[in-house]
Symmetry: D2
Subunit: 410 residues, 4 copies
C-alpha cells in the first residue's frame, strides 16, 4: 500500500500550481532572477516522519526563516534575560522594512523583523565572538537541526550585501542606541551570510519539527534547543512571525510561522508537526503566494490550527475494583487535568485497603502532574494505606514519597 | 485524603495576598469604592472539575471579561464574515482607552478593546434587534456558560454610565464611520449593562472552560459555542487579550487571557482548563495586580502555557504479530501524526494476510485522521487483503470504505 | 478713473472659474445640496479699504473659519494661560477628522482642528456660562468684526447636528480627559451654531483685516482684540491653519489661512491685508478648490507672502548739519533697526552743541524703539548737551527723560 | 555717548548667566568636553549694523545651524523643484534623532532634521559632484555669508564621525529609498565637515541678517541668495526650525530659528534682523538653554516677533491741492496697501487738471505696487489728463505707460 499522505500533499500542490500571481523579490538581483517555477511542500511529525511533495530537492536561501532559529541560538548562547535586554517580543504590526524600535528602550520590537534579527545575530556565541564564529555558529546549528551539512550560497550573499542599505541603516541605528556593540559592517555581513544558507523544504520541516518536539531533533534525537527556548521561539512566531496581520494569520490559519523572501515558509504546531513550503513568487506582503495558500489548505483540510479542538480528552484516568484491590489507572500524556482527576478519585475513595496505581500505559508526566501524583500517594500513605505502583516503563522515575520511602511494586 | 490541588491554590493566594500594590479603578465611582481585600482563584478543567480557593463567593461585575464571550455571541448571531466586516483581529499595542481604529477600514482593531467590544455588542441578535434584546442575549448566554442564572448590578451600571464619556466617544466615532448603525446612547447603555453582569471566579473559570472544551459547557454538556467560533475567540485572546504587551504575556505566561477593570482575570488553555482570578487592585496597565501574578505562578509552577512541551507523544500507534494475524493498535486522541504513523506502518507491511486494526483505546479522531485511516483501509482492501476493525466505542462511526462496504468485525 | 484693483480680482476669478473640479461637502446634506457655482474674492487692507469681485453678496455658513476668531474670543474671555491649559498650538499634520490629542496632556493639538475648536467654544464667556451665552458671544463678536449684524442659518445648524457624530465623539473624549467640563451635547450644539453663522466674503476679509490691524476693526476703529491675542491667532493660523501640509502652504503661498467646509477661505498678512475667497467645491483635502487657487494667484502675482522681501528699508534715519545745529531725522514706523541706527549716529557724533531730533514724519514707534530713543536722549543730556525734540504729532507722547525733565521744543 | 543697545544685550547676558542648568552634548566627545562657560549674543540689522555682547570671539562648530544655509545652497545649485523631490517642508514634530521620513514618498520631512540635511548636502553643486566639491561649496558660501574666511575644525569632525552611527543609519536608509545616490560614507563625512565649520555669534548673526535682507549680505552687498530662496528658507525655519514644539516657539517667541548641538542658536526676522546666541549647555530638547532664554527675552522686551504689531502704517499716501495743481504723495516702502490707497484717491478725484505724483520719499516699490501705479497713470492719461512724476531717486525706474510714452517731469 502507498500511504495516502503524499498523495494529499501532491493534490494541494496541483491545485495551487496554476496560481502564478506575484513575482520574485525584485530588490535582490540574485533572487529576482530565480526560477519562479519550483513548488514544494513538506510535513515532518514530531516523531520524525517526513511527508513531502513537489520540488523537494531544489535548494534555496533560507533568508528570514533563519530568524527564529538564530534567535534560539542567541538565547542558548547568552541566556533569555540578556537577549530580552536587546530584543523585544511584541508584534510590530508593520511591514518588514520598518525600523520598529520600541519607544523608550529602543529595542527592536521582536526578533522576526530585520532589526531584531540583526541584534540576535550579534548576540551569538558570546561577547567577544568574531564575525566568523557567529556565522559558523548558525551554520553548525542549522545543520544539526536539518540533520545534514548545510552550506552558504556565496552568490546570494554577495548579491544581497550590495543592496543591504536597509540592514546597514538598522545596524548603525542599533549601534547608535547602544544595542549593537560590534562593527555594523561585520554584523550585517554575518547576518547576510546567515540568510544565504541553502536549504530544502525537507530541511526546513525538520528544523521546525525539532521546535515542535521541544527542541529534540526527532530523527537524530539530539537535544539542540532546550524546552523553554523552544517555547519562547514558538510563542514569538505566533505573535510576530508573519509580517502583516499577526492576528489575521493566527485566527484564520493558526500555524505559528515565518516566511522568507526567497519563497520559503515554515510553520510549527507544538507536539505535532513542522511544516515547510517553497515557491518563489511573493504576494504584496512579501510572503510566498503559493506557500501561504498551501498553509491555508493544511489548516482548513487537516485541522492544523493551534486552537483546533482535539475532539477528545488528552489523558485518561479510571478506577476498578478487582477483588479487594482498588486499582487506579492513568494513561497517555498526563498533565494537570488527568492528575487532578486521579486525585479527585483518590480523595473520594472510601475504601481503606491498599491503593494500586497502574501507570503502565502512561507515556509521560508533566512536572506538575508528577508532583501532584506523588503528593497524593504520600498523603494516602500517611493515612495508613499501603501503596502499590505498577510502572514498568519508569514513567515516574525515582518516585520518592518525600521521606526517602517508595511505593511498593505489585 | 484531601486532594492537594486546592491546597496548592491556597498557597498561591497566601503567597500573593501581601501584595497590596495598586488601587481599585478610580474613574468609576462604584468600583473605586469597592473592597480591595477579596482574592480568589479558580481552575475548571475541560472535563468540568473545578478547583478553587479564596473568596470564591464574592460577586463582581464582569467588565471587559465580557468581551470575548459577547464576541462569540456576535459571531454566532451574525456569522464570522459579518463580524469581521466591523471588527478586526489584530493586536492594538495600545492602552485600553485608545480609539485603535484600523487605517483604511476604520474598523476597531480587535474585539478586546472598547471600540471593538461596543461594535460587537451592537451586532448581537440581528440587524433590527432592540437594545433590550441585545442585553437579554448576553445575559442568557453568560448564564448558560456559567451554568447558573446571572444578574446585572444596576448600581454599577448607573455609576459607569455617568462616566462613560470614553465609550460614548467611541460609539459616536463608530457611527461617524458607518460601523455602528444603532443609536449611540442605546448601544453604550447596553454595553455598559453587559459589563455590569455579576459573576464569581467559579463562573468565569467555567465560562472559560467551555471555550477550552470547544464550546461545550463541561458540566451541562450544552453546546453553546461552535468549535470554529471557540477557536476564533481563543486566537483573538492570544493576540489581543492583555491590553499591553501581547507578546510579553504570550511568551512569558502563555495563557490567552482577558482582564476586567473590576479586578477579574480569565484565561484559557485549549483542551485543558479555564482559569479565573479576582482581586480588585489594578497595576499600572489596568490589570489586576494579584490576579496577574497568580496566573504567572500557575504558568511557572504548573506548566500551564500554550507552548509548554507535553514531554511525550499525544497519540500512540503500534503493531503486533499475534499468530498469523498482524494487529495494528491506535490509542488516545488520534490526530494527523498518529494517523500518518499508522499509515506508514501499514504501507511498510509485507505481510499479506488479514489486517486487524484495534482502535478500542482511541478516544477521538480528528476529521483528517478519520479520513486518512479509512482511505488506508480502502487501499489495503483494494490490494486484496481482508480488513478487521475492532472499534467497540464506535470511534470511527460509519466506517464506509468508499464503496458502501465496511470492515469486518473481528 | 476706475481703480484697477477690482479689475485684477475679476481677472483672477475669470481665469479660475472654469475649474469645476471637486464637489461640495457631501457629508452635510445642507451643504451637499448647495449651489456650487458662486465664486467671490475680497481683499481688505489694514486701513479699511475693501476690494472685491464676484458673488460677494452670496451668504454662506462660516464653518471652520469661525475657529480662529472664536479662539481669539476664548483668549480674551479666559486669558491665554487658561486657554493653553486646554488647547495646544502645535501643527496636527492630520486630516480634519482626526482626534489629534497631544500625548500626555490630552489637549487638542491646536484650536484649528475640530477637537480644539470645540474646546475653545466651551471656554467662551466664563466658567459657568450657559450654552446660549456662548453662542451669543461669538455672534456678537463676529458681528463686531464684520461691522454688521450677522445671523445663524438654522437649517444648516439642524442639518449639521444630525451628522455631528464626529464632533459628539470629540466632545465626549474631551470630557473623558477632563478638558470639557460642560455637557457634551450642549457644547457641540453651540459649536455647530457658531459654524452656522452666515457671512459673505466681504465680512470675512474685514474680520481678517482686523487681525492684520492688530485687533482694531479698520472701519469702525473698535478695538475688538488686543494685540497679543491677534498675534497669537495669526501665529497659530501660520502653523496649523490649513488641514494638511502646513509647511507646503507656508512656503509656497505664505498667507496664514483657515478654510471652511462650505467653501470659504480666509487669510491674513500682518499690517497689510485680510483676504477672503468663496467657492463651494472642495479639493481632496477639504479646502475650496478655486478659493485655494485664488490665494495662490494673489501670493504669486501680488507678492502677498509672509516672507516676501519688501525691497527696501522699512524705516529711515538721517542726519544734517544746518548751521551750528546738528539735526537727526527719523521717519516711518520706527522699530528696533531704525532706533539702533539713530543711536549709532548719535554715539558717533563728535559735535558738542545741541542735539535736534526731528520725528515729525514718524508714524509710530514700537515700545522698544521708544525706550531706546529716550534712553539715548537721556545719556546725551547727561553729557551736558541740550536736547531739542520736534514731535508735532506726539509720536513720543510724554518723553520723560527718566528724571522728570523733558526735551526742549525747537 | 555710548549707544545703549550693547548695554541692553549685556544686561540680558548678565541676567541669564547664572542659569547653569543643562549640560553640553554628551554623545559627541569633543563637544562633551567643551568649556560650558562662554555666553554671547549678537544682533545684526538688515542694514548691516551688528550689536553684540559676551564671548563674541569664541569660535564653535556650527552644527545644525548649517542646515538652513546648506539648504539654500542646494536650492541655488539644483533648483527648488529638484530639492523638493528629495526633501519635504513639513514640521516633523519629533526629536532630532528620529528618521521622520514622509509616508509614501519616503522624503525626509524637512531639511532641518538630520535626514533632510544629509539629503540637502548630497544635492550640493551638481549630480556628479565629488565629496570635496560639496564641502568646498558650503565652506565658500558660509564664508561669503559671514563676510570672512571660515575654517573646519578637524578635531570636531573626527570626533563626530566616530559617533555618527545615527547619520550613517539615515544615509543608508535614504540610499535604500533611492533618495541618496552617492556613497553613504562619503556623504555623511561631508555633512559632518559641514557641521564642523567654526563660527562666532557675529558670523551667525551676519549670516541670518543676509536672509533677513532677502539674500544680500548687508555689509559686502553681495547677492548670495536669491529672494525666493531666502523666502523658502525662512518659511521652513518658521515651521520646522526648533526640534520640538514648532507652534509653541512660533506663537510664544515668534523668531524663525535654528539651533545647534554645540550651543548656538540663530534666528531671523525678515527685513529686520539676524540674531545669534551661544552657550554650550543644552536643555532637554537639545537646544542651548541660555541661548533659548536670550531669544525669549529679545522677543518679549524688544517686540522681535514675526507677528508683532507695528503700531502704524508701513507706507503712506496723501493728497494736496496746491494752487491749481493736485499733488499726490507716496512715501516709504510701497506695497499693495499704499498703492491701492493711492489708486482710490486718484479714482475719487473730480479735478480735471494735471496729476502730479510725488514719490521723492519712496524707498521702494514691490513689483505689484509698481505695476498698479503705472496702470493708474496710464488710465488717467487715457482720460486726457497730463501726468507729472517727481521721482528724483528713480524709484519707478523706466516708468513706461504701456505705449512707449512716459510721465512728464514737473
Amino acid at each position: 500500500m502507498q500511504t495516502p499522505v503524499p498523495d494529499y500533499l501532491h493534490e494541494v500542490l496541483d491545485t495551487l500550481r496554476e496560481d502564478t500571481s506575484g513575482e520574485t523579490a525584485q530588490y535582490i538581483p540574485e533572487l529576482a532572477n530565480a526560477d519562479p517555477a519550483p513548488f514544494a511542500l513538506s510535513v515532518t511529525t514530531a516523531t520524525g516522519s517526513t511527508y513531502c511533495a513537489g520540488d523537494t530537492d531544489t535548494p534555496f536561501s533560507i533568508q528570514s526563516i533563519s530568524k527564529p532559529f538564530a534567535y534560539a541560538a542567541a538565547i542558548i548562547d547568552r541566556g533569555l534575560d540578556r537577549v530580552l535586554e536587546s530584543i523585544g517580543v511584541e508584534p510590530s504590526g508593520e511591514a518588514f522594512n520598518e525600523l520598529s524600535l520600541e519607544d523608550g528602550t529602543n529595542r527592536p520590537k521582536n526578533p522576526m523583523i530585520n532589526a531584531g534579527a540583526i541584534a540576535a545575530h550579534s548576540l551569538l556565541v558570546g561577547q567577544d565572538a568574531t564575525g566568523e564564529a557567529r556565522v559558523q555558529r548558525v551554520l553548525d546549528m542549522f545543520s544539526s537541526l536539518a540533520g545534514r551539512e548545510l552550506q552558504i550560497d556565496e552568490d546570494v550573499y554577495r548579491s544581497e550585501l550590495i543592496t543591504a542599505d536597509h540592514n546597514f541603516s538598522m545596524a548603525h541605528m542599533l549601534r547608535n542606541y547602544g544595542i549593537l556593540a560590534d562593527d555594523a559592517h561585520e554584523v550585517v555581513s554575518g547576518y547576510t551570510k546567515q540568510c544565504s544558507i541553502l536549504v530544502t523544504v525537507n530541511d526546513l520541516s525538520m528544523m521546525a519539527a525539532t521546535l515542535a518536539n521541544g527542541g529534540v531533533q526527532p530523527v537524530t534525537h539530539e537535544k539542540i534547543i532546550d524546552e523553554n527556548t523552544a517555547r519562547q521561539v514558538m510563542s514569538v512566531m505566533a505573535v510576530a512571525g508573519m509580517y502583516d496581520g499577526a492576528g489575521d494569520w493566527l485566527t484564520r490559519v493558526g500555524i505559528p510561522a515565518k516566511s522568507g523572501v526567497s519563497g520559503g515558509l515554515v510553520g510549527v504546531l507544538p507536539d505535532q508537526v513542522g511544516i515547510a513550503a517553497f515557491s518563489p513568487r511573493l504576494d504584496s506582503h512579501g510572503n510566498s503566494q503559493r506557500s501561504r495558500r498551501a498553509f491555508e489548505r493544511l489548516s482548513t483540510d487537516m485541522d492544523m490550527h493551534l486552537f483546533a479542538p482535539s475532539h477528545g480528552r488528552l489523558d485518561v484516568v479510571g478506577v476498578n475494583l478487582e477483588g479487594n484491590r482498588e486499582i487506579f489507572y492513568l494513561q497517555g500524556n498526563v498533565r494537570f487535568t488527568a492528575a487532578a482527576e486521579l486525585l479527585d478519585l483518590l480523595s473520594e475513595s472510601d475504601f481503606d485497603g491498599a491503593v494500586h496505581l497502574d501507570i503502565s500505559r502512561v507515556h509521560s508526566f508533566t512536572n506538575v502532574a508528577r508532583r501532584m501524583v506523588l503528593e497524593a500517594l504520600r498523603r494516602l500513605r500517611n493515612e495508613g494505606r499501603r501503596i502499590f505502583l505498577h510502572d514498568p516503563l519508569q514513567s515516574l522515575a525515582n518516585p520518592d514519597l518525600g521521606d526517602g520511602t517508595f511505593p511498593e511494586t505489585p
